[in-house]
């Protein structure tokens, strides 16, 4: 989808050591990030992590307790919301109920005091962009959720903002429509070429739409990176656990060789082939994604067959159509989630409840975490 833009590119939006203190509670705690022009940047985290507060500080509805927000070299601190060169698409849209679609889109342009024909021209262009020309005279409540969402987008793009803020842009849509709209929204944003900061609690939304994601928890940025970085190389247990499904196994480093390490956990030994190093005896956590593992009925044979394999009994199966997630109970009583793509229809030897199976994975499947 979007090409990841390195943070070292000329920083267009700079968030510098921003803190928001609500009576001793730090909703945002020392957040810093540089966002390049044209980027779609997502703030992702569970509710209450401070992502919305940060977005509201960008829009000007909240003032940072300390820290600076700089857009295109201009410090925004003293600008009230109505003077900031940015527009926001609100959660559940906040369309003006007494105004038609046309008037909603024209609202911001009229405030700029543009001549009438320029406003008409601009509104028509926006209606065309979001394909709502036919609905110009309708009131917001006469539209479906998806159409309202597009009006909200058109309204926030009408003034050609330097920065577009999206607050849970697809939160109010149902799943099917959300998937369609994600792509559509990104296409429109890229067509316009506006820099964009979005807030979401939905990791799929963040991953499909954003070029970079900041994972937030308790007011802090835990990790900032491209979606694939965050998924495949999470920096902390929280990030690994929050993004996607993961099996976390605590263990101890037992062998430290230049080309590999071995980590012993309760049920198995992990042979980790990629470049990490540590001190023998140090406690670590191994993170394994369910789709990085395979299930077989027999114990895998061959070189290193003592490593990266574990036997267990199928306790639960969750069928998702394209794949199935098996929950294995291991010898220690721990649970292991393994997902298998359903390549064939109606396999003869399908796994079922109670089967004793072996899970195994490659030497590059792990992420080793120390915090």
């Amino acid at each position: 989808m979007s090409v990841a833009i390195a943070a070292s590119d000329k920083a267009f939006l700079q968030i510098q050591n921003v803190v928001k203190d609500f009576d001793g509670y730090k909703a945002v705690n020392n957040a810093s990030v540089d966002i390049a022009k044209g980027e779609i940047f997502a703030l992702l985290g569970p509710s209450g992590c401070g992502k919305s507060t940060l977005l509201r500080m960008l829009a000007g509805f909240e003032t940072p307790t300390t820290g600076r927000i700089v857009l295109g070299g201009v410090d925004l601190a003293t600008l009230p919301p109505y003077e900031r060169p940015m527009n926001m698409m609100f959660q559940s849209y906040a369309l003006f109920p007494h105004l038609s679609v046309w008037e909603n889109i024209a609202f911001g342009l009229k405030r700029e005091g543009l001549p009438k024909d320029r406003i008409t021209e601009r509104v028509e262009a926006m209606l065309k962009l979001v394909q709502l020309g036919k609905f110009a005279q309708r009131k917001p409540h006469q539209l479906s959720g998806g159409q309202q969402q597009r009006v909200a987008l058109a309204r926030s793009l009408a003034k050609q903002p330097q920065l577009l803020l999206l607050d849970e842009p697809l939160g109010a849509l149902d799943k099917k429509l959300r998937e369609q709209t994600q792509i559509e929204l990104v296409n429109i944003i890229e067509q316009v070429g506006v820099t964009c900061v979005m807030v979401t609690h939905d990791q799929e939304e963040a991953m499909t739409m954003a070029s970079r994601i900041a994972v937030m928890s308790e007011g802090r940025f835990l990790q900032v990176g491209a979606p694939s970085d965050i998924y495949e190389t999470p920096a902390t247990r929280f990030v690994a656990d929050f993004i996607g499904n993961v099996n976390l196994m605590d263990g101890t480093l037992t062998v430290d060789e230049p080309d590999h390490v071995v980590i012993k956990s309760a049920d198995c030994q992990h042979y980790v082939g990629h470049g990490i190093t540590g001190v023998v005896g140090m406690p670590v956590t191994v993170a394994l994604r369910p789709e990085k593992m395979h299930l077989t009925r027999n114990k895998p044979q061959g070189e290193l067959s003592e490593f990266n394999t574990v036997s267990g009994k199928i306790k639960e199966m969750a069928y998702f159509g394209s794949f199935t997630v098996y929950h294995l109970v291991l010898a220690s009583g721990a649970l292991l989630k393994v997902s298998m793509t359903n390549i064939q229809r109606h396999r003869d030897d399908e796994f079922t409840w109670g089967d004793e199976v072996w899970a195994h994975w490659s030497r590059s499947a792990h992420v080793v975490l120390t915090q």
Partner: protein
Amino acid sequence: MQRVISLFTGRRLVIAAPYLFLLSFFLLPFLIVGKISVSEMEAVAFKDLITLSDGVLQLSLKFSNYVFLGQDSLYIKTYISSLQYAAATTVLCLFIGYPFAYFMARAKSSVQPVLLMLVMLPFWTSFLLRVYAWKGLLSEGGFVAELVIGLGLDQALAAAGLISSPGKLMNTPFSLVLGMTYTYLPFMILPLYANLAKMDLRLLEAAADLGASPWVAFWKITVPLSKAGIIAGAMLVFIPCVGEYVIPELLGGPETLMIGRVIWDEFFSNNDWPMASTVAVVMILLIIVPLAVFNKYQAEAQEGAK
């Protein structure tokens, strides 16, 4: 059988209750008043409208009162001045009540019940007593009169024709409108408050985000969205003000013509019940017909907005 029973479901009964109430205490009395207005007096009794004599059924309606009403400029002037005083009161209530309701609705939610209580507090004292109190406050030597005269405001009021001569505030258009505004203010504030309190404040943020200063956002978003509250408040003030009798009687003067006093005079001084009824019927029609038309238009607009 099934259908007969279903007529008396709980839902229908609940809907029927207010209609029955209005039927018996508004429509029936109104029809009686209407009947009196077209009746002929015979000494102290009314003649029957429908009489059967010699096998001829006779319906006699006397419209001379209505004709007389339309010809007598005093009645017409009184109607107009009643509407003017009611309109002035409504506008004043709106200008005082809107900011009041606005700040009440935007106050901390912990303070709101207290503020609401303060608005309703005057109802704990009799309406008559409160209007009487204004007599004391406004007559010579009264606290408010002293204050107004001390500040020299009486000169301005006299110049505007609201009082006849400086130094005398009582029994003038000023005292009348003041008393009505004072009395009916809560009826303006309460519906406005109810409306403004439930407004979605994110709409104001959206307006600010799109470049509207707080002042512009107020006029473009808050005021249009509170239209229903403004209309409800205005009706609750305007309608009773048109027919107000007690306040003009206590605070009004010889030159403050109000239709309520005319009706009272016709009933109890002149003992001309048909004439009094005519004045009352015309007053009600004057209020109801434009309101019904307005309401229909409003309902259509609402329907479009739903």
